[in-house]
């Protein structure tokens, strides 16, 4: 079991307190709302991708626990400048990290690796993935996603 101070490490607490890219993206060409009815976490994501499918700008707003807010904040930081395909691949690696206890933390995940501790708290994995599921909905032009 990951120690609590590792789950709630400084980077996560910092992103919770001072979320990055916590704003609207104007203009944007993708957006979606994510909601977890179990815990009430809500995330709204807006992003602008260019003609080549590169994420020029991405922002989020919402409310939720520290894990949810930090995950959304770090996600927006990680995705700026990435192509949509790269974003999908990153989500897959991130998702694998959270659902496989044996997996080493992949250096290519960068700051997202700080969320690895969540995998020892199965009830909280959804908190960390809500922003990513919302991103997927935005990229698929669904306007709403409900994660349970």
């Amino acid at each position: 079991m990951t120690d609590l101070s590792e789950l709630y490490q400084a980077v996560i607490l910092d992103h919770n307190k001072n979320p990055r890219n916590y704003r609207a993206v104007d203009p944007h060409n993708h957006q979606a709302d994510g909601y977890n009815p179990l815990c009430g976490d809500q995330v709204h994501i807006e992003l602008r991708a260019d003609a080549e499918g590169c994420i020029e700008d991405i922002g989020f707003r919402g409310e939720g626990c520290a894990i949810c807010m930090a995950s959304a904040s770090i996600m927006t930081e990680s995705l700026k400048g990435q192509t949509l395909d790269e974003a999908q691949a990153l989500f897959k690696r991130f998702h694998d990290l959270l659902t496989d206890n044996q997996r080493e933390i992949d250096a290519s995940l960068g700051k997202l690796g700080v969320l690895a501790g969540v995998r020892d708290y199965p009830m909280r994995v959804k908190c960390a993935t809500l922003a990513w599921h919302t991103l997927q909905a935005a990229l698929n032009d669904q306007t709403e996603v409900v994660a349970e």
């Binding site: 709630y8 009430g40 626990c65």
Partner: protein, 418 residues
């Protein structure tokens, strides 16, 4: 009843909680390396050994389907199952054991009343009156019948301290009010509603009233005849019994006039392909094979509560509530949600702007089990402007050590998030 349920000494200092705790096997296990402080009995209570034994004894020694076989096992199962009606009758002081219907829980009880008693009476524009502090189980069944009939749901407001706004409630009763359904004790706020006053207002206009007793049956004496309600219900899993069973109590005259809720075996007198003749209450509302062992163990759970003493349980939980309030209010940033003058042992709160789920995880690591979230009362969360709260709720087995563990855990939360 098992011997463990009997003879609890009740001195001037209240319950002998350490003896009671010994009745609950789950409380003996550590949680994440700490003593388990189980503070979520409002969601579901833990089970004493006598309840666990009653269910096992049924399966091991006399189990068979009820109301069917002529053989000894079936007779014995039927007898034990039917005996629980008398236990429930005594537990809520019902006039007649035929008024006791076994259901899956309070949720099914409310749905049964909504569909079988209320829905046939509703015309477009009729009103059903509830309160703003209802559990989803006392909101959604009424929305279903309202949508089907064109009736309206009218919701009485909740005051800032978590009490029902009785002045507005009284004014909301109209010539179109066909039914009133209110929670006796709020699962989120702990508020004890003045159900006798509500029933008096309703009686004056001949409006029937259902009282949702899910949070009152485990925590205080309930005298259904003195209360004067038309329907009352509770869930066994909150009265230290098994999950998946519970009670609907209804006035016999109402039950006799109601059509069945579900059709099937055990609820009929005669069946032909042309038509069926229904059994009398309560069998009319118990289609199919019920949770036989669960109902029997529910009876054991109610006997356990009686053996401990309901006045004593209420007094003990009031003592814990006062102790916890004093300890928690000393924590900077602690904000209680629901401070009604009449409350049960339920404390919903926020702490600074720390999210309830972060608190829940950190408290869990300290061995403290609390509920976090909207507590199936989303409209109430909106009323108080919070997405979620953390809720500590007491049962007869909680003690000051549990409160101290909560306070210690919250200090840990604060230090992590400072």
């Amino acid at each position: 009843m098992s011997s463990s349920a009997a003879n609890h000494s009740v001195g001037h200092r209240g319950l002998d909680v350490s003896a009671l705790r010994a009745d609950f096997p789950i409380l003996q296990r550590p949680m994440n390396g700490k003593r388990l402080a189980f503070l979520d009995s409002a969601a579901s209570a833990q089970k004493p050994q006598c309840v666990i034994d009653a269910e096992r004894e049924c399966y091991e020694t006399y189990y068979a389907n009820i109301h069917r076989g002529v053989y000894s096992l079936s007779q014995q199962s039927t007898q034990r199952y039917e005996d629980v009606r008398k236990t429930v009758q005594r537990f809520i002081n019902a006039a007649d054991e035929r008024e006791v219907v076994f259901v899956r829980g309070a949720t099914e009880a409310i749905n049964l009343v909504a569909q079988s008693f209320v829905r046939p009476k509703l015309e477009p524009g009729d009103e059903i009156l509830i309160t703003g502090m209802e559990h989803h189980a006392n909101i959604v069944p009424w929305q279903l019948v309202a949508e089907a009939t064109g009736a309206q749901l009218v919701v009485a407001p909740v005051l800032d301290n978590g009490e029902l706004d009785m002045d507005t409630f009284a004014k909301q009763i109209s010539d179109r009010t066909r039914f009133i359904s209110v929670v006796h004790v709020s699962n989120t706020l702990g508020t004890i509603n003045p159900v006798e006053d509500i029933i008096a207002l309703a009686k004056a206009r001949e409006i029937p009233v259902l009282v949702d007793g899910a949070q009152s049956a485990p925590h205080m004496p309930v005298d259904i005849q003195a209360m004067g309600a038309d329907f009352y219900c509770f869930s066994a899993h909150k009265t230290y019994g098994p999950s998946g069973t519970g009670v609907l109590w209804g006035r016999l005259a109402h039950l006799e006039a109601m059509p069945p809720y579900q059709g099937g075996g055990d609820m009929i007198r005669t069946v032909t392909f042309a038509r069926s003749e229904y059994a009398d209450p309560p069998q009319r509302f118990e289609a199919g094979t019920p949770n036989i062992a669960g109902v029997i163990a529910m009876g054991t759970g109610l006997e356990y509560i009686e053996s401990v003493g309901r006045e004593q349980i209420a007094a003990h939980e009031q003592h814990l509530l006062a102790y916890a309030n004093a300890e928690l209010e000393a924590i900077e940033g602690f904000r209680p949600i629901g401070t009604a003058a009449q409350k049960t042992g339920v404390i919903s709160f926020t702490l600074d702007d720390i999210h309830a789920h972060d608190m829940g995880t950190i408290l869990d690591m300290e061995g403290v089990a609390v509920r976090t979230g909207h507590h199936c009362t989303q409209p109430l969360m909106e009323r108080f402007g919070v997405p979620a709260t953390t809720r500590a709720s007491f049962g007869l087995y909680n003690d000051e050590d549990d409160v101290d563990a909560l306070v210690h855990g919250l200090e840990r939360v604060k230090s992590l998030f400072s």
